[in-house]
């Protein structure tokens, strides 16, 4: 199949979480093509890198987008920081341009003041793709609840959309 035309490039965005890696593939400005979570058991980093490699081979994205896990205020664990580096290396090896976006920039794309909880961001993304993501939207997290693993999917979609909206 002819897949050489790239004037409407495909963006692969990921969001790293304790549970695994949420991913989203967007074609053009805002066409959601694929979304989901990578493996959540075993050697998470190795499995995630393998899954992302497969997604890159399948969709041949022009850009790989990820939130900055190394920012001073990111508060990410050593495992997540190491995974971020590993996934960037996977993208670079596949000749895919990488774009690391600050969390604030992603949030600002949806909320002008840039301050929003993950739940609010997920709800904003679900409003854009109600048919695709509406049923995945978790209940609002209470103080005693763990973060829902689906939130990483919404964060990945948010990162992809923010990248597109920034006109990059």
């Amino acid at each position: 199949m002819n897949r050489n035309r790239v004037n409407n490039p495909v963006v692969l965005a990921v969001a790293l979480s304790t549970w695994g890696v949420g991913f989203a593939v967007i074609e053009g400005k805002d066409m959601l093509v694929d979304w989901g979570m990578t493996a959540t058991k075993g050697d998470k980093n190795a499995l995630a890198a393998f899954e992302i490699e497969k997604l890159i081979a399948q969709y041949r994205p022009s850009v790989f987008v990820m939130e900055d896990a190394h920012a001073k205020d990111s508060g990410r664990s050593q495992r997540i920081r190491s995974l971020a580096k590993r996934l960037c290396a996977v993208a670079v090896r596949a000749n895919v341009q990488t774009a690391i976006m600050p969390r604030q920039e992603i949030r600002k794309s949806f909320f002008p003041d840039g301050s929003a909880t993950k739940d609010a961001l997920a709800a904003a993304v679900a409003d854009i793709f109600p048919e695709e993501l509406g049923r995945l939207l978790p209940r609002k997290r209470q103080a005693w609840m763990n973060e829902h693993f689906n939130l990483a999917v919404f964060e990945a979609v948010a990162a992809a959309l923010a990248f597109r909206r920034a006109g990059k």
Binding site: R5, N8, M31, V33, G36, Q58
Partner: protein, 114 residues
């Protein structure tokens, strides 16, 4: 319409409807979810009968489902229509005029300037 890179959006539409690959295989009249996986990974192109069944299942037109392939076909037809239009330039008569109008439309050329 901006041109699309991916040939189709079968996977997105299946997931939108919360169907598994096995569900779609069954609806397509097969018991092999692997075939659906091959379609979704761009390894195989569905036959026309299968594509039409996809249209029924997803309630999306073929042009929407197979957006990238549709645009490819559209571009190729336009290129060929331009060639055919040049070849029919010397013809005259009502039928030839109608034909040029059809070809100009396919080629995306304003017939008035012909």
């Amino acid at each position: 319409m901006p041109s699309l890179q991916l040939p189709h959006h079968l996977r997105a539409n299946r997931k939108r409807l919360a169907l598994s690959q096995e569900d779609v295989a069954f609806l397509l009249g097969s018991d092999d979810g692997g075939q659906v996986s091959k379609y979704e990974h761009f390894a195989r192109i569905p036959a026309l009968e299968t594509a039409l069944a996809y249209e029924v299942i997803t309630k999306r037109s073929l042009a929407e489902l197979f957006g990238g392939m549709y645009q490819d076909a559209e571009q190729k037809v336009a290129d060929r229509a331009r060639i055919l239009l040049e070849r029919t330039g010397h013809l005259s008569g009502g039928r030839a005029a109608r034909k040029r109008e059809t070809l100009a439309d396919l080629a995306g050329i304003n017939d008035k300037i012909l």
